[in-house]
Amino acid sequence: MNMETRSLKTSAETELASLFDGAREQLAGSDAVIKLREQAFSAFDERGLPHRRVEEYKYSDVRAKLKSASKLVAAGSNAEAKSALEAVETYGDLERYRIVINNGRLMAELSDIEALKGEGVTVSNLNAALADAQDEADGLLNVPSIAAADPMIMLNTALVLGGAVVSVGEGTEVSRPIEIVYTASTAGARYTRCRIELGKRAQATILESFEDNTAEAEGNAVSDFVIGDEARLTLARVVTGEAVHVSSVLMNIGGSAEVKAIGFNMGTDFARTQSFVTFSGEHSNASLYGITMVREKQHSDHTLVVDHKVPNCESRERFKAVIDDFAEGVFQGKIIVRPHAQKTDGQMMTQALLLSEDASMSNKPELEIFADDVQCAHGATSGQIDEDLLFYLRARGIPEAQAKMLLVLAFLAEAVEEMEDEGIVSALEGRIRNWLSVEE
C-alpha cells in the first residue's frame, strides 16, 4: 500500500501549480525556453517540494517549512531599486563594480555595465538572452547531471524571473571585484538566475550578496559558473535575511583552472546553499568553503556534490558552522570520483562550534570512489568553545563576550583569509562581528 501518492498536494504545491499556470504568459523566453520551463515544471510537479524522505533533503524539509507559496514579485522601478540598494551595507567602500538585481530582475541602469565593458566583461539581461534563445535555450538553463533530480532547481527553471549573464572575456583580468547584489523593494517570491562565464585564462573575483530576503517571501536563486581553461575565480557569497532561501551554485571547471570560494549562510531563517561542482578539465583545483552562522531557531544547510569527472584534480571542501541557541546546522557533502579520474585528491572537512547546549549539527559526508589511484578523505568535528583558550584571553583582561568573539573569528579566520584581498577579508570579518554582537 503506497500512501505517498502525488495527488495529496500541500497547499504550497497547489499554489505553485496555479502560479506557474498564471505566469506562463508573462515569463520570458522563446518557444524553446517555454518548452524547457514546462518540462521543468511538470518534472517538479511529479516530485513536489522536497521533504525529509528525499535523501538529499533529509535534514532540510522544504515541504514542511513552506506553508504557502508567495506570489511572484513584481518588477520594481529604478527609484525603488535604488533605495533598496542604499539600505544595504555589504562591502562598504570597497572599490568594486556592481551588478544590481532587484525583485529578481537585472537593473541595468544601476549596474556598472559600461565600465565592465571597458574591462572586457559583458553583462547582459538574462531575459533578453532567453527571448532569443534557440534549441535547449542555448544552454542558458542547463543543469549538470549531478543536479538533474533537484526539485528546487526545476522550480527555478520553470519560474525564473530574471538575472544576468556575465561574461569575462578570454585572458581578461578584471581589476576590481564584481559584486552581484540581490535586493528586494517589494514582497513576493524571487526566482533568479545568473550565469557567470570566465573565458580561457580570465581572472575575476565575484561577490554575490543576497540582501533580498525578507520574511514575507521565499527566494530561489541559481548561480551558474562556467570556468574556462586556466581561468581563476575567487568567489564570496553571503546569504542573509529572514526568508526561506534556497541557493544553488552550479560550477563547471575547465582544465588547469583555480577556484577559491566561500559561501556564508548568515542568520537566515531557513537557508540551504547547495553546490554542484564538476571538474571537466584536468589539473584544476578548487577550494570550497561553506560557513554557517545561525541562532534562535534558524536552520542552515550546506550541501555539496563534487564530481571529479577527469583525472588529476584537487578539491578541498571545508565547512564551518557557528551555532547558537536552538539553531540547527546541516552539512551534506559528497565527493564522486569517476572510474577514469585517477590521481584525484579530495579532502572534505566539517567543523562545528556549538555555542549553546541546544544547538545541533548534522553531518553527512559521503565518498563515492570508482577509481583506484586516488586520495580522498573526510572528517568531522564538533565542539564548544575551548575553556582553556577562553581563560587565557580573560586572564589578559579581555572580557568574556569579547574573548568569545575573538575565538569565533579565529575559528572562521582560515576560511575568510582564503579571500586574500584585504578589503574583502575585513568586510567579511566586519559582518561576522556584527552578527556576533547582536547576541544577547
Binding site: F391, L393, G397, P399, L406, A410
Partner: protein, 251 residues
C-alpha cells in the same frame, strides 16, 4: 598588596584538597619565590589567583590591595593589575599575536576608565619591548604562540607582562624549558619591571632562575602548605639538599 589567608581548595568533584591552608603576604616592591616539589600545588595556587574556575575555594580568602578577589572574574582581576605568566602558554590559532596584545591592552585600559591607545603609540611600545626580549616582528604577526618554541612562548609571556604593566606579576615556572641565554633575556626582562610599587611572585622548581631574579623572600610549598619561609639562602640550601626534608613534613 597580596594577602592569602588560610586558603583551602580542591578541583571539581574531587574532594581531595590540593591547597590545605596557604598563608602568604606580599608587599609592594617585594619579590617572593615559591619553590616546591612537583605536584605540591604551585600551579594550582597561581590559577586560583588568576581566577580559573576549575578550582573551588572552600575556605580562606585572597585579598588584593585589601579587597577580596574571590568573586572577581579573571578579566576583572587582570584589569585590577594581576598578571599570571603561565607555565604552559597555550596556542591560539587564528588570533594574531599583535591583535591579541592590542585587544588585551585596550580592554584593560577601558576597564580602568582610561583612553584606548592609538595604533601608532601601541606599535611603538610593542616594538621597543619586543626588541628587548629578542622577539621578532615575524613572531608578532603569527597567531598567538602557534609554532613558537618553548623559549619563545616564555618570552612572549614576558612581553605581555611588560606591555600590560601589572601591579602583581605571578610567574609560574617561567624558567622551565629555557637554555641559559634565553634565561638571561627573560630574567633581564623581569628585572626591568622591578619597581617599588610592583610585587612579584616567582614560582620555580629550581634555584637557577633565582641567581638572576634575586628574591627577597623564599617559601617552600609542600603538599598544599607553605612549610618553610626564609631569605634567598633558603633557595641555595634547597638546591644542595633537595626537597626530601620537606616532603613528609606537611602530611
Amino acid at each position: 598588596m597580596l594577602e592569602i589567608k588560610n586558603l583551602h581548595a580542591h578541583v571539581g568533584d574531587d574532594e581531595t584538597e590540593i591547597l590545605r591552608g596557604v598563608n602568604l603576604t606580599v608587599k609592594p616592591g617585594e619579590v617572593h619565590a615559591i619553590m616546591g616539589p612537583n605536584g605540591s600545588g604551585k600551579s594550582t595556587l597561581s590559577y586560583i589567583l588568576a581566577g580559573k574556575d576549575d578550582y573551588e575555594v572552600t575556605e580562606g580568602d585572597i585579598l588584593f590591595n585589601g579587597e577580596s578577589m574571590l568573586e572577581m572574574e579573571p578579566d576583572e582581576r587582570a584589569a585590577a593589575g594581576l598578571f599570571l605568566a603561565f607555565q604552559y602558554p597555550i596556542e591560539i590559532p587564528g588570533v594574531a599575536t599583535m591583535t591579541f596584545l592590542k585587544t588585551a591592552l585596550n580592554a584593560q585600559r577601558k576597564a580602568r576608565g582610561e583612553d584606548e591607545l592609538s595604533t601608532p603609540a601601541f606599535m611603538k611600545q610593542v616594538k621597543e619591548k619586543a626588541a628587548e626580549l629578542n622577539i621578532t616582528m615575524d613572531m608578532l604577526k603569527r597567531p598567538l604562540n602557534v609554532g613558537f618554541s618553548g623559549g619563545e612562548k616564555k618570552r612572549s609571556e614576558i612581553l605581555q607582562m611588560s606591555l600590560l604593566e601589572p601591579k602583581l606579576c605571578v610567574m609560574d615556572e617561567t624558567d622551565s624549558g629555557l637554555d641559559i641565554d634565553a634565561l638571561k633575556i627573560v630574567a633581564e626582562g623581569v628585572n626591568r619591571l622591578r619597581s617599588p610599587d610592583r610585587a612579584m611572585v616567582v614560582i620555580t622548581h629550581y634555584q637557577r632562575l633565582l641567581d638572576h631574579i634575586v628574591p627577597d623572600v623564599v617559601h617552600v610549598l609542600s603538599r598544599g602548605k607553605i612549610v618553610k619561609t626564609g631569605g634567598k639562602e633558603l633557595a641555595l640550601e634547597l638546591e644542595k639538599n633537595g626537597y626530601a626534608d620537606y616532603v613528609g613534613q606537611a602530611a
